[in-house]
């Protein structure tokens, strides 16, 4: 485990940066983006192994960003983050190409497992 490049996309900066730090402590390399445009630019530049993408974002929504990612970088696994109970959106995301979805608040161990599984897929 470890050594993957993970891109975190969430409009909640505190969440994204803190989660990034935790992932780094677990040996991951991280890139953070706080909206869809920034995420797409970083995607081209940094070429992450896996993208963790929040669905509820102002401007471009997570699902729109997901659509772009599957166009620009097909094959990059995307793990969606949904609010509690928004199972439908998670399932919708999986239908258009997301690897899996997780509900916020997260459990770090679960996220780590998902990341590892997604990259090794």
């Amino acid at each position: 485990m470890g050594g993957f490049k993970v891109m975190l996309v969430d409009d909640e900066q505190e969440f994204a940066t803190t989660l990034a730090e935790r992932l780094r402590m677990r040996g991951m390399e991280t890139v953070t983006a706080f909206d869809g445009e920034q995420a797409l630019r970083a995607l081209a530049k940094d070429k992450p192994d896996v993208v963790i993408l929040d669905i509820m974002m102002p401007g471009m929504s997570g699902l729109q960003v997901l659509g772009k990612i599957t166009e620009i970088a097909p094959g990059t696994p995307v793990i969606l983050l949904t609010g509690i109970g928004s199972t439908t959106e998670g399932i919708a995301g999986m239908k258009i190409g997301a690897y899996d979805y997780l509900m916020k608040p997260l459990q770090i161990e679960e996220l780590m497992d998902k990341i590892t599984a997604a990259v090794k897929k």
Binding site: E14, M25, M56, I84, G85, P105, L106
Partner: protein, 575 residues
Amino acid sequence: MNLMQSISQIFSRLTEVPDQENSPFRYKIVRRNVAILMLLITLAPLSLMTIINYYEYRSVLRDEIVRPQRVLVNKAKHSIELFLANRLATVNFIASAYSYDELADESNLNRIFRVLKREFEGFVDLGLIDSAGFQVSYAGPYSLKGKDYSEQSWFENVQVNGAYVSEVFKGYRRFPHIALAVHHLPENGKPWVVRATINTAKLDELIASMGLDAESDAFLVNREGVLQTNSKYYGQALDRCPCIPSVSYEPTVVERVDPRGRSVMVTYCYFPNADFIFMLIKPQAQVMKAWYTLKADLFIVFAISVGLIVAVVLRLTKSMFDKMKEADDKRALALKEMEHSHKLSSIGRLAAGVAHEINNPLAVINEKAGLMKDLIEFTPGFPDKDRFLGPVGAIIGSVERCRTITHRLLGFARRMDVEIQVLDVNDVIKETVGFLEKEALYRNIKLNLNFARELPKIESDRGQLQQVFLNVLNNAFQAMEDGGTVSVATFERDEATIGVTIQDTGHGMSEDTMKHIFEPFFTTKASGKGTGLGLSITYGLVKRLGGDVEVQSKVGKGTRFTVYLPRKHQDSQGS
């Protein structure tokens, strides 16, 4: 004008519908008013018609009855007058045709008297009286010759009026008779008076010839009320008859109560030329027999009509207002239910909003606390490691609790996709109870399962049913001290519905609590221990599945929830 106003006022008062929607008297008042109004507009004309008919018929019938009596009385009076006039004319003829000397001769007078008796019925005697009032000659059964009449009033009367008809009297004789006297004034010489008496038998005969019926009575009476002929009811001739009507020379009808206490109809007529009143008496009961029959008929018809109208009006208004009340009640109930579900759905939307808003900061807290935990764990030789890990763990635990709450909130608010399958409710309950078996064992709670055999399978959603039963069972568990009993039973309520009862021996609920238990966030648990969402979610789920929940509870005895579920799923219940 005033009358019209007050009538229209009464009508508008009666037709007014009171506004207070919820007044329990409203229907009663309206129903009463409508009934009164209907009765008024039907009974008033009916009563009026009956009263008019009553008086009209009575007057018509009375005329019918009275007219022949008048005619009869007139005729009888006429015959009597004619009889008396005839006899008087005869006496007058004798007085004029013979001279004083001829009449003074007793044998002559006897001869005249014999002829008189033969030709004219009823003569009793005949006599000549000179101007001094002295009986000169006499022919008849008594010996009255030489009697002095000068002091008697009739003698004076005849001298003044020329003729005189006495009332009936006994005089010197023992039987009733009438005296006729004629005053004759020759061209030269002294005037004289011829006096004859007739018996009253002829009068009785005349009255008898009227052909009266058995109940009726007819007689002559004088103005002092002394009977002149025999009466059937009021005595013999010369007895006193107390009922003397007011003077009228035309046949007149009056209604009286006679001395014997009977109500009678009296037809009478005064004689203009003599001191007589002819009276015909008929008992009212007999006269008005036809009227009484008619009156009874009229009354019966009226009473039956009134009875029918009242019955119909009361029945009609009752059924009308029962229907109206039923419709209103239904409407009110529907409104209440709509209000309730509206309330639930708006609270649900609010809850969903709150859950979403809280979720993000919650995620941040989670990560921050996680990071702290990571730092503590990943830093080798972190001082007081355990003292830090404790609070951090508590923060993460609390976040987890919040997560559960928001999850439930959303579960309440979310539109869930119903997945319908044919299932056995007994199985679903068995599965659900399985979740709680550990807790039951631990708390020494007895679980009684009483499943109906052959319970029909229903079309429903397994997951949601489990949620429903779990919620209710959880509530039951929480309502009880350790060692209680929860009884679950299933039954077939009717062809279309099955029921599940879940009864606990817990502390029960007050009426007030029962009213609110299906509302979101209503909880009786200590703050922080319950979300108040369990039963509202249950209610929403059961409603969505087309069923219903009933709750019965007694403080201190326990609570019974009954869940009714339809056997067939209906799509209209999809939301």
